[in-house]
Symmetry: C2
């Protein structure tokens, strides 16, 4: 406290040291102080030193909002993400954060717990001077937003979502579903089912289309009773519970039940596995399974599944956002990731799949 000039000693709470205080104490102009803190080259080393020492003594730190206002840049971006996407979301977030930290940016997180919040968060993010750009995840961009947006709107990148007018980074659910289904076809199955999530969910619809297409291309009959959809609202049906009851439903088909099932997510697959076990059946012997996502636990269950490059997607989303911020006039670009098939035990191809091996590979 001793270093503080008299006129500040009585301040509590609003003890706020400004650039003017530094300038006065160091007997320089405010411009020079500013220059020092912005690493402007044209400052005499002596002057710089003196300013820094005064700043340190008074514990000065530039005011973020004042900087933002003056620079017309917040150095912050917003991410609007459904919380329920859980694993997906944590990994993407890591990718985002790592990238962004290097660039000196901050992240405002808007987690969607209820659809009504989407509009609210979009509005906030789009407010002047709140953030420099927006990442929007896994939901449908509301039409109201699209309409009021125009050429000069804030940069926005869609991730795991699509709209022609905005940059997007999209996992090709259609192709992913085709690959998954083809894998089952190639293993010789002809009675193939699908356990899907709630059709309100765009990826769910796309995965269904891919499934249907693959069957058709493979000349395999699509039995309507083999496709189980869910009306579960929670997490759009991407839950263990939903997977569990969906599998039960398939098992109710009796001897007519599919010998192989494509499941829209690993989480559901885990639930489906329980249902199988409870019925005294096993995967892949009784029912072969290919799932989707490759969450961390997929390995534990030996799930053959479609892997989405989540961390990388987070990174790339940030990269694209910065490109867009630098060059707002660019036409929208759309990147498609095609998920890759990870073969483990649940499809029946890899007879010797062993969890222990994966442990050996991944342990440090």
């Amino acid at each position: 406290m001793e270093g503080l000039p008299i006129y500040l000693q009585n301040y509590r709470c609003l003890l706020t040291v400004t650039i003017y205080d530094i300038a006065r104490e160091a007997k320089v102009g405010i411009g020079t102080v500013s220059r020092v803190f912005n690493n402007h080259p044209n400052v005499k080393p002596k002057t710089r030193e003196k300013i820094l020492s005064v700043a340190k003594r008074l514990n000065y730190h530039p005011h973020a909002y004042a900087q933002g206002l003056a620079r017309r840049r917040t150095n912050t971006i917003a991410a609007i993400i459904p919380f329920f996407t859980n694993y997906f979301f944590v990994e993407i977030l890591q990718g985002i954060q790592d990238k962004i930290t290097n660039l000196g940016y901050d992240l405002i997180l808007y987690g969607i717990n209820h659809p009504r919040e989407i509009d609210e968060y979009l509005r906030k993010s789009d407010q002047r001077g709140r953030v420099d750009g927006i990442l929007f995840f896994s939901s449908k961009l509301p039409e109201s937003f699209v309409e009021r947006s125009h050429v000069d709107s804030k940069p926005l990148i869609l991730v795991d979502a699509f709209h022609e007018r905005f940059d997007s980074l999209h996992v090709d659910n259609f192709k992913g579903a085709i690959a998954a289904t083809n894998h089952l076809i190639q293993l010789g199955h002809t009675n193939i089912g699908m356990i899907n999530a709630n059709l309100n969910n765009t990826p769910a619809r796309e995965r269904k289309d891919g499934f249907a297409d693959a069957l058709k291309a493979g000349g395999i009959e699509l039995r309507p009773q083999n496709i189980v959809e869910t009306n579960v609202i929670k997490n759009d049906g991407y839950t263990r519970e939903a997977g569990y009851s969906s599998m039960k439903q398939l098992l109710n088909l009796g001897t007519d039940r599919p010998t192989a099932v494509f499941i829209a997510s690993d989480v559901q697959a885990i639930g489906a596995l329980s249902a199988l076990r409870q019925a005294g059946l096993r995967a892949p012997e009784d029912v072969a399974i290919v799932a989707y996502d490759d969450i961390e636990l997929a390995a534990h269950f030996g799930l053959t599944t479609m892997r989405q490059p989540m961390y990388r997607m987070g990174e790339l989303a940030v990269e694209k956002l910065f490109q867009r911020m630098e060059n707002p006039a660019m036409p929208p670009s759309h990147v498609h990731f095609v998920p890759t098939l990870i073969v483990r035990g649940s499809c029946g191809m890899n007879k010797n799949y062993s969890l222990a091996e994966e442990f050996l590979q991944t342990s440090d």
Copy 2:
């Protein structure tokens, strides 16, 4: 675009409508415009209407940073959270976000992927005008930070961490571990082991202490070889891999191996379960298990475990932060949560535990 006054029509990108534009167009003073947007009561309804209509026509939205600068309040808080806490962290985050959204606040998320980032994020959060308060999770507050903090520092709440000089919200790992261990003792076990995480981790140390204490109080010998610690760095050892190899190590004790094990986290327990299965052993018949956390998947594995009220902790953390912001002089308060024991199948007490039942209860 038609509604725009001439002098704005050519602006691109910086098309930025200010309070002055509104005032001019509506033929009022800027003060009145400001009052309208702040819902100040003393504005004639006619005037208010006119201003709102002009604002709408010009698509005016107040500038967040300018407001922040003038109000000396950012309406934003920072959360510094280790990303690896995963499940824990997502649930807490939901609690935070729900609470905060109601209060009109935003959240800046600083996810720690590497210890070195802690200091950096703390420094940023603590910068003038960046956020109004800080939530700090599950890590040790660096001494350097404690030292430079003083009475007038920014409000900060520790969650799942402790320091006498700051408000904290702490899960009592010691008591939790005692409860878990006692449960195994009451089930009649006398040869009890523990699988712990990396001792660098504070909760891990506390859980170990609780375990040792409970044994002592129960008059049960603590065999050093029964306690397995890990030197895994990743996630401080809270990983399936670590749990897997720890259990292997216990099994290597042969016939002397413990008949019951307290495991420091559900994630590790899942790994341990694999090790058991691979060795042809079962829980609880061969080894009874009580774990810690009650992540969503714990039910799936029928894990008996210590539940931490994560969502509620998120909410409460925000509440405490706001109390602190309102009353900075308050002496620090410390809330202890005691985790509750959730009995499922893995401890051997609940012979009829069935996953299906939980599904029935929780499904919507």
